[in-house]
């Protein structure tokens, strides 16, 4: 074993101030395991699953649907089953899904006259196997209460202004149903590969609070210009 450490990287910084919630979480988990409420293996199973999921799954579904009409048809007909074609099994990580997530998965297609938006008014149900963890704002009572009452106003707050003749449909998730929006493919993406298309299908476009753009990916947004 080498005793030298000569490769080039910045030194690891000392840990910052310890949060009381680091302390609280560690204490809860330790006590729960000691009391047999669950096992360390249970916890590891969920941690590894959580680190695997993200919006890349949903982006891949949409991009493939844009390119493959047969896949799109299957996806709209049975989202849960068709997710398996890109390696997402809604029964992970337990064989029966998570306590929160194993449900029916519906993909909602936007059209020139219909725009879909997802919310969970009851709690914070979210299609985690395909979109990862919900953003903080999605879980707030502020968003949940207002999205169903004043969807156009909420969308406007995200910078999305829809024409008056576009119907806005709000889909309320629940214990049995999870939804994801399939946005329309934007202009300027003709001839693009699935990877190129997947890059512009960002999380917010699949929640329905934004529209995909050829010049906007999760890693790169257009430079704002003053008006």
């Amino acid at each position: 074993m080498s005793t030298t450490h000569d490769h080039d990287h910045a030194p690891i910084e000392a840990a910052g101030e310890i949060s009381e919630f680091d302390v609280l979480e560690t204490a809860i988990r330790g006590l729960a395991i000691e009391k047999g409420l669950f096992s360390p293996e249970d916890h590891r199973r969920f941690m590894e699953w959580a680190q695997r999921i993200g919006p890349h799954g949903g982006s891949r579904l949409v991009a493939r649907a844009w390119l493959d009409p047969g896949f799109k048809q299957r996806l709209l007909a049975d989202g849960t089953e068709t997710s398996k074609e890109i390696g997402i099994d809604w029964l992970d990580p337990t064989g029966t899904g998570t306590p929160s997530d194993f449900t029916y998965f519906y993909v909602l297609e936007n059209t020139p006259k219909v725009h879909n938006l997802i919310v969970c008014t009851l709690c914070s149900c979210y299609p985690r196997p395909v979109l990862g963890q919900a953003p903080e704002w999605y879980k707030t009572p502020h968003y949940r209460r207002r999205a169903v009452r004043w969807p156009r106003e909420v969308l406007a707050e995200f910078g999305l202004h829809l024409a008056a003749d576009v119907e806005v449909r709000v889909h309320d998730s629940n214990q049995k149903s999870r939804f994801m929006v399939m946005p329309m493919r934007p202009e300027g993406t003709e001839g693009w590969t699935e990877d190129q298309l997947a890059a512009i299908v960002t999380r917010d476009t699949m929640i329905g609070v934004a529209l995909p753009r050829a010049d906007w990916t999760a890693d790169r947004s257009p430079v704002a210009t003053s008006r």
């Binding site: 919630f21 204490a27 809860i28 729960a32 249970d42 916890h43 959580a50 306590p99 704002w137």
Partner: protein
């Protein structure tokens, strides 16, 4: 399913000292403890100790009362502990003792 009680557990209320009275940022990056907690909640629900939907409802109820001054992203931890205390799965003494041990361990590392 009875609603959670607005008990003020000193061991939990004390965490506010360091959390600060500030709202969560809408799109802030999650701290590592939040991922651990999420997995803990899934395990508790999967194994039948604490149903996820009950916890989420309690987060809404207690988040607007007992824990209204806590940042929104911290309420899941508080409410999980609150419900485990309320149901007698753990005691305040156990939790306080364990938190002291964990704090000492983390601060010395």
């Amino acid at each position: 399913m009875s609603p959670p009680r607005n008990t003020h557990y000193p061991v939990l209320m004390g965490t506010l000292r360091k959390a600060g009275k500030r709202p969560s940022e809408p799109d802030r990056a999650s701290a590592p403890w939040e991922a651990n907690l999420q997995a803990t909640c899934e395990c508790l629900s999967w194994r039948g100790a604490l149903d996820n939907l009950e916890r989420r409802r309690a987060e809404d109820t207690l988040g607007e009362t007992t824990y209204a001054h806590f940042p929104a992203h911290t309420r899941a931890a508080l409410v999980t502990a609150h419900l485990l205390l309320e149901r007698g799965r753990i005691s305040e003494h156990e939790l306080e003792t364990r938190m002291n041990q964990v704090r000492a361990r983390l601060q010395s590392s």
